[in-house]
């Protein structure tokens, strides 16, 4: 027996290829959407991995520092550091903002790390070029995704920083590249008011007779100094010694220090379960719509191709072709269309992924799932056409 589906496809290959390419682009979009979701999850995991922490200590009852804002005193790390099992504890700040370089500005997550203590949690674990921050002011390490280069002068708020090192895949949970600056500078960045506001506050402080006492020299200056500095950070990142459990250390911190502490797995749950949950539902919705559209396209094309063959199907039935053979012919065509579409889609997605501004991670398993989903959709979509073909009366071939 010959393959009726194969012969028909060879005879109308142009139609098949063009429809397949159209379907393929749609499948490519679908695979890319799945890749966008995977990229978001991976960005979140990269953020956690790269922070080098086992515990995140944040303001009490917040989901900080990534999913909610969190603010804690910058000297709390000392008491955490003194706890048994804690190897390292480091202050860190996070602020997503526009970072200027020359005439352009880049959206980035500005991370404040304790200068001169390279290797502590919060620090970029490895650099692709340059060196770590060594001075406590005006040096920066930037992710290459910012487009900055070594020696570039970048502006964060009012201050200029020199890029001394470059990292790769250091991103925030929303995929913005990171820019590391010294902690002191970063605290100032978070707190900084504009010049007018600073002047106004100084004037008002000076006018307050309680604070501006002629008999107490230096009091006004001290008050102004506390008003214009920021003793807060967003989180303390903790690395624990081997042999200790993260949860075991988190418990006393929660209890005695009136802080909230998250382990790595709790943090992952917050990032993936809460922070990107809406985005992932959004993407899921798109996937459903794309699946329906693909199914509609396959159903429509196979239906029209079958409609064009009503006469031939009647003849095939008249000369004794089994219904099964005719159904198989139609289903095979739908499957071939799906396979062409999948190949085109996979190739398109693979080539297009690097051009997306955010990370698109194409997982082989998603492709396999996608492939079987496409086959399923094609088989289901062909049922409409098969139903029609099976209804064709062989008597039609004889005519009136």
């Amino acid at each position: 027996m010959i393959s009726l589906a194969g012969r028909d496809i060879l005879n109308t290959w142009g139609k098949f290829i063009f429809t397949g390419i159209g379907l393929g682009l749609l499948i490519g979009v679908t695979l890319t959407m799945a890749g966008v979701y995977r990229g978001m999850v991976d960005d979140g995991k990269a953020l956690l991995d790269n922070s080098g922490a086992d515990l995140w200590v944040v303001q009490q009852d917040t989901l900080g520092p990534y999913a909610e804002s969190s603010s804690i005193n910058d000297d709390l790390y000392r008491s955490i550091l003194s706890m048994p099992g804690v190897a390292e504890a480091a202050n860190v700040t996070y602020l997503t903002m526009q970072v200027r370089q020359g005439r352009r500005d880049v959206r980035a997550m500005v991370v404040g790390v304790v200068a001169g203590s390279s290797g502590k949690p919060g620090w970029p674990p490895y650099l692709v070029a340059g060196r770590q921050i060594t001075r406590s002011h005006y040096e920066a390490v930037a992710d290459i995704a910012t487009g900055f280069e070594l020696g570039d002068r970048i502006q964060v708020r009012r201050n200029q920083y020199t890029v001394v090192g470059l990292t790769r895949r250091m991103v925030s949970s929303s995929g913005d590249p990171m820019v590391f600056i010294p902690l002191k500078d970063a605290q100032e960045v978070q707190f900084l008011k504009d010049n007018d506001a600073v002047l106004q506050q100084r004037r008002r402080t000076a006018e307050n007779p309680m604070l501006n006492r002629p008999g107490v020299p230096g009091l006004l200056d001290a008050v102004i100094a506390t008003q214009s500095s920021n003793p807060y950070v967003n989180a303390v990142l903790v690395r624990i010694r081997p042999g200790f459990s993260a949860e075991g250390i988190a418990r006393p911190i929660r209890r005695w220090q009136r802080l909230t502490a998250y382990t790595r797995s709790q943090m992952e749950e917050i990032l993936i379960g809460k922070l990107i949950a809406t985005s992932s539902r959004q993407i899921g919705m798109f996937l459903v719509i794309l699946a329906i559209v693909s199914a509609a396209i396959v159903a429509f094309i196979i239906y029209t191709l079958t409609m064009d063959k009503i006469r031939e199907i009647a003849v095939l039935k008249l000369i004794g072709t089994r219904n099964r053979t005719i159904a198989a012919m139609i289903m095979q065509q739908a499957v071939v269309l799906g396979v062409i579409g999948f190949v085109v889609g996979k190739v398109t997605a693979t080539f297009a992924a690097p051009y997306f501004p955010k990370y698109v991670l194409l997982m082989p398993l998603d492709s396999v799932t996608g492939f079987f989903a496409v086959l399923m959709i094609c088989v289901l979509a062909s049922l409409v056409a098969i139903r029609m073909a099976l209804k064709v009366d062989p008597a039609e071939a004889i005519g009136g």
């Binding site: 010959i2 005879n11 008249l318 000369i319 009366d393 062989p394 004889i398 005519g399």
Partner: protein, 235 residues
């Protein structure tokens, strides 16, 4: 016993009640193997209904029918596998050739033996032999759309004959052809009838070919009559 076509007292009613149409009222026909018989009748007389009943795609309301020595219908009873019966016992030749456009000439013909389970090679060989007999072997690898009307009709005839069915039903097989081609189709049908002992019914209006039938049935208002009197027949 007649191993060709036997129809006795066949009736066919479409619909029920007030709207019922008696398309066939009394049909009696006999076609012996090796015979080519004409069926002539005005429009609406029941020719297509008769062909469909013979072709086992509609069920007659009453009467008996035998094809190739096998009972197909008998007063309400019918043979169990009409699809296989169509494949093995009946060859169809239509007014339009209705070739499968995505199969080449050889496979259009070879498809039937393949459907009957013959290996591809054997089926194609059988198709080629027939195409040679019908003098279209030079177009064996062409697609139907590349053939002339006459060539297509010969391929369609080859397809009707390829399973060596005991019965061939031809519906206006010469309508689209000029008289020379029409005569050659008739010659082929007569040759094939003799060679393969096939019983052939040709439904036609075509004045050119009517004289070539040795026997003719007329059908009028669903009733058949055999034409009486000596006919010249083919050659």
């Amino acid at each position: 016993m007649n191993k060709g076509i036997v129809i006795e007292g066949m009736r066919k009613r479409y619909g029920t009640g007030d709207t019922a149409v008696d398309a066939l009222k009394k049909v009696d026909m006999q076609v012996e193997p090796g015979e080519v018989v004409g069926l002539i009748g005005p429009s609406g007389s029941g020719k297509s209904t008769l062909l469909k009943s013979l072709g086992a795609v509609i069920d007659p309301s009453a009467g008996r029918m035998m094809l190739g020595g096998e009972v197909i219908y008998d007063e309400g009873w019918k043979a169990p596998d009409l699809r296989a019966l169509r494949r093995d016992k009946i060859g169809f030749v239509f007014q339009a050739p209705y070739l499968i456009p995505f199969l080449d000439v050889t496979d259009n013909v070879a498809l039937l033996p393949m459907l009957a389970g013959l290996p591809n090679g054997e089926a194609r060989q059988r198709a080629l032999d027939l195409l040679t007999a019908l003098d279209v072997q030079h177009r064996a690898r062409a697609m139907p759309s590349q053939l002339s009307g006459g060539e297509q009709q010969r391929v369609a005839i080859a397809r009707g004959l390829v399973n060596r069915p005991p019965v061939i039903l031809a519906d206006e097989p010469t309508a689209p052809l000029d008289s020379e081609r029409a005569m050659s189709v008739i010659r082929i049908l007569n040759d094939m009838a003799k060679k393969y002992e096939t019983a052939i019914i040709v439904v036609t209006h075509d004045e050119k070919i009517i004289p070539t039938f040795k026997r003719i049935y007329h059908i009028r208002d669903g009733v058949t009559h055999e034409e009486v009197g000596e006919r010249r027949g083919f050659d």
